[in-house]
């Protein structure tokens, strides 16, 4: 498998945040880690990204053990929840930032940056300052920036949580399209079950640091492994699109 996590453990003091987590992912697929807050999903993401070191276990990407690698050398790019855009640089400078360290000369870097900006639909905005952009636009810049370095793996930490509902739906569709077009392997963290089900090729449900169930969304829906999963998903129905993909889920009405 392209991405493998083997028995990853992480504790902060007495609290075990991630407990013996293992899963693997094929290249070119989108995995969603889903769970409520405090379940350890962001911690897991940070460990894959290299910002936290697991207490034990291994992370293997494309056959290479990257567990001990620092973030700057890992072939992994992350889109953070708050985007982490550089406010003192403009859009194109942000997007091409990572290319500096890959010995790509400036002209080529700008060209590539603009290609990715185009991909996310922001090609007229390349000279804009970050604070002149709306939330959705900023999010797309962050995405373009991560993709521009053409990483082996792209991580996203609740990237749509700051956007309004309509924009979220739109962004989901675009992200999925992009991911498939580029064939980028992605790991996506969210607490929104609708988002997870629609976007992912595979879903991992986490609870209190443990992996509860990992499978395709359809399989999980049909065969939730325990009551936690089914309650968490809280689904009444799924609406399927013509292309065999899930178009919409209808959540249970919460009391």
């Amino acid at each position: 498998m392209y991405l493998e996590l083997e028995h990853i453990k992480k504790s902060f003091g007495d609290k075990t945040v991630v407990d013996d987590l293992s899963f693997s992912l094929e290249q070119g697929k989108l995995l969603c880690i889903l769970g409520s807050s405090g379940c350890g999903k962001t911690t897991t993401l940070n460990m894959i990204g290299g910002f936290l070191r697991p207490d034990s276990g291994r992370i293997i990407l494309d056959g290479q053990d990257i567990t001990e690698m620092t973030p700057e050398y890992r072939p992994v790019a992350t889109v953070f929840q708050s985007y982490g855009l550089f406010p003192h640089m403009n859009v194109i400078q942000n997007v091409t930032y990572g290319l500096k360290f890959r010995h790509i000369d400036r002209k080529d870097a700008i060209e590539r940056g603009e290609r990715y900006l185009d991909l996310v639909g922001l090609h007229e905005y390349s000279k804009y300052r970050i604070d002149e952009l709306s939330g959705g636009q900023q999010q797309r810049v962050a995405l373009a920036r991560a993709l521009a370095v053409e990483p082996k793996l792209c991580l996203l930490d609740e990237p749509f949580s700051n956007l309004d509902a309509a924009l979220r739906v739109k962004m989901r569709v675009e992200l999925k399209k992009l991911q498939e077009e580029l064939g980028i392997t992605m790991v996506f963290v969210t607490h929104d079950q609708e988002e997870a089900i629609i976007l992912s090729d595979f879903m991992t449900i986490m609870d209190q640091g443990r992996l509860v169930q990992m499978d395709t969304p359809e399989n999980i829906y049909r065969n939730p492994s325990n009551s936690y999963v089914s309650e968490f998903l809280g689904l009444k129905d799924i609406v399927w699109g013509e292309d065999g993909k899930i178009m919409k889920v209808i959540a249970n009405e919460k009391l």
């Binding site: 290249q27 070119g28 990204g49 290299g50 910002f51 620092t70 973030p71 700057e72 050398y73 890992r74 072939p75 992994v76 790019a77 992350t78 953070f80 929840q81 708050s82 985007y83 982490g84 855009l85 550089f86 406010p87 003192h88 640089m89 403009n90 930032y97 990572g98 500096k100 360290f101 890959r102 010995h103 790509i104 290609r115 991909l119 000279k127 804009y128 300052r129 604070d131 002149e132 962050a142 920036r145 991560a146 370095v149 053409e150 082996k152 077009e181 580029l182 064939g183 980028i184």
Partner: protein, 572 residues
């Protein structure tokens, strides 16, 4: 379009060759060593020398100096605490009132009052005390000529009054920063619901200011303890520990005893420091990144008694300070001792014939300190606050030590520490520059710490994520993000370097004479005219430079604008 096959077989890698990795690591470690080691070498070590000296006497190691202090100086100790407590309470109240006053001003009013605040901060030592006497002394223009009072300001109340009004600006600026962060919509909703101004003050504003108020109380107390200039000039018979230390150094040549006395000042200051640190963290964590109007939407003139009181005190304070500074400027061109105003340029001529070179030298050193000092502070607070190096709080504590002791102590420490091999730099420009830089570090690092918390961790992480090594992160994310802090540090460093006297008093050599030393000299020898000229020059020059720097950075910011909206610069 993107070539998918090419994408999947992408072999670009962040440069992993050993040399560049090692360079990055070495560079990172070197920077850490530089700032942390610098703090230890140039703050801890000199103070340690003073500490050792406190056990010194003609007969060798002894506790006798401490015994002497307790028996002979207990009154001074008590008086320091007395003055410190009163000053900190009064000053905090006044600072809160004044910052409320300023925050509620708009437009040109705001500019005038903020400018006044800045001018006050540029206060050359001694001269303000003298202006104070000229205005409020037994024969003061105000007290005697105007109000026909015959008061005697040479006692603890004079000291308290003087310290209170001179510490207000720096407190008010900090409180202003807090007031700017209060969510305007909260106030608007409250007003909407019918709350009167005094309710809003009580329920919204003051709670938001609480950590700031506590910080003010603590900092003012420490500042008052360490202040030797004010009691020395107007204390008369009333001696505080700080002015006693000054006397022991300057007059009695009693270094050993003075060293012991300094230790007495240090202990309470250290305790207060830890309390302060706790509250400072609280203050910084409440940072709202939303840009909003710097103006506090509380119409004082419609706010009943409290409102009028705030406005009244605010105006009164401004008046007092304006008078004080006018007095300094007038004394520069008025023949001293004459009963009516008689214009003269003799003092100005004197200054320029004899002292022009000292002024240039002061400017040069001040610039060097400002530039290097600001960088140092930024990098230091980055490693301590962000990278959380081991023993970070110890280093932070050391960096704050110079604040808690009188400047003379720090200066003496430098002589003791650096007057012999392996590091003999006494008598050079270097020792002055280093001394000033580190003396100002407590304040500059705090300014940076506050600004640092505004840089989201996600930015740093993104940079690293995309391949930036440690040094690149500092260059690309931290430094640019700290530009406003660096500006504030620059201004503070420049002002302080031009006006600091205590520490450098013992460190100047004839060839490194600074303007402020000449000022001290002129005051010492009673040449008020000359002293006023030098003081006025210092004030004007500092304001000019600050203004230039400010304009320059604003221009550079605006120049980078593109797109549809203009970039709004947040003040303070």
């Amino acid at each position: 379009m993107i070539d998918r096959k090419k994408l999947l077989s992408n072999t670009e890698r962040v440069s992993q060759n050993t040399l560049s990795r090692y360079i990055d690591m070495i560079g990172d470690h070197a920077l850490q060593f530089l700032v942390l080691g610098g703090v230890v070498l140039f703050i801890f070590y000199p103070l340690f020398c003073v500490f050792l000296r406190s056990f010194h006497s003609a007969d060798g190691f002894t506790f006798s100096q401490y015994a002497k202090v307790i028996t002979e100086e207990s009154t001074a100790l008590w008086r320091s605490v007395f003055v410190g407590s009163f000053t900190s309470v009064l000053c905090t109240i006044l600072s809160v009132v004044f910052s409320l006053f300023i925050s509620t001003r708009r437009g040109w009013q705001k500019i005038i009052f903020t400018a006044l605040l800045i001018v006050i901060m540029v206060s050359p030592p001694f001269v303000s005390s003298i202006a104070y006497i000229q205005l409020y002394g037994r024969r003061g223009w105000i007290t005697y000529n105007l109000l026909h009072l015959n008061i005697m300001p040479y006692n603890q109340w004079g000291i308290i009054a003087m310290q209170t009004i001179s510490f207000v600006p720096i407190n008010a600026l900090m409180l202003n920063g807090l007031l700017a962060k209060i969510d305007r919509s909260v106030i608007n909703s409250a007003r909407d619901l019918g709350a009167k101004a005094k309710d809003i003050l009580k329920d919204v504003v003051l709670p938001a200011l609480k950590p700031g108020i506590i910080v003010c109380l603590l900092l003012t107390f420490v500042r008052s303890l360490a202040d030797y200039g004010t009691p020395a000039i107007i204390g008369g018979r009333f001696r505080t520990l700080a002015s006693q230390i000054y006397i022991q150094f300057m007059g009695a040549g009693n270094i050993d005893k003075a060293a012991a006395m300094n230790m007495f000042l240090l202990v309470p200051s250290l305790i207060l420091f830890f309390i302060y640190r706790h509250f400072m963290k609280k203050m910084n964590s409440n940072s709202s990144s939303r840009r909003q109007d710097a103006h506090l939407n509380l119409p004082l003139h419609k706010s009943g008694v409290i409102g009028w009181l705030i406005m009244g005190i605010g105006l009164l304070y401004s008046l007092i300070m304006t008078l004080q500074y006018s007095s300094i400027f007038l004394s520069a061109i008025n023949r001293t001792g004459s009963k009516i105003f008689s214009f003269t340029t003799e003092y100005i001529e004197k200054v320029f014939t004899y002292n022009a070179s000292t002024l240039y030298r002061s400017l040069l050193y001040a610039f060097i300190v400002s530039i290097i000092g600001s960088l140092f502070a930024v990098i230091f607070s980055y490693y301590v606050e962000r990278r959380k190096v081991r023993f970070g709080s110890v280093f932070d504590c050391i960096a704050t030590l110079p604040y808690m002791i009188p400047g003379t102590c720090f200066g003496i420490g430098f002589i003791l520490a650096f007057n012999s091999a392996p590091l003999k730099i006494t008598g050079t420009a270097l020792i002055l520059i280093i001394n000033m830089l580190f003396k100002q570090l407590p304040t500059t690092t705090k300014m940076c710490a506050a600004s640092l918390s505004q840089i989201h961790v996600a930015q740093e992480n993104s940079a690293r994520d995309l391949g930036a090594g440690r040094l690149a992160v500092i260059k690309d994310v931290i430094l640019p993000g700290m530009r406003p802090a660096m500006l504030t540090c620059f201004i503070y460093n420049f002002t302080s370097s031009m006006t600091t006297a205590g520490a450098i008093l013992f460190l100047v050599a004839p060839k490194t004479l600074l303007a402020v030393f000449k000022l001290f000299d002129a005051t010492y020898t009673g040449e008020y005219g000359v002293a006023s000229v030098i003081a006025s020059l210092i004030i004007i020059v500092v304001l000019l430079v600050e203004g230039l720097v400010f304009l320059l950075t604003s221009y550079l910011e605006k120049h980078n604008v593109s797109g549809t909206r203009t970039y709004q610069k947040e003040l303070w």
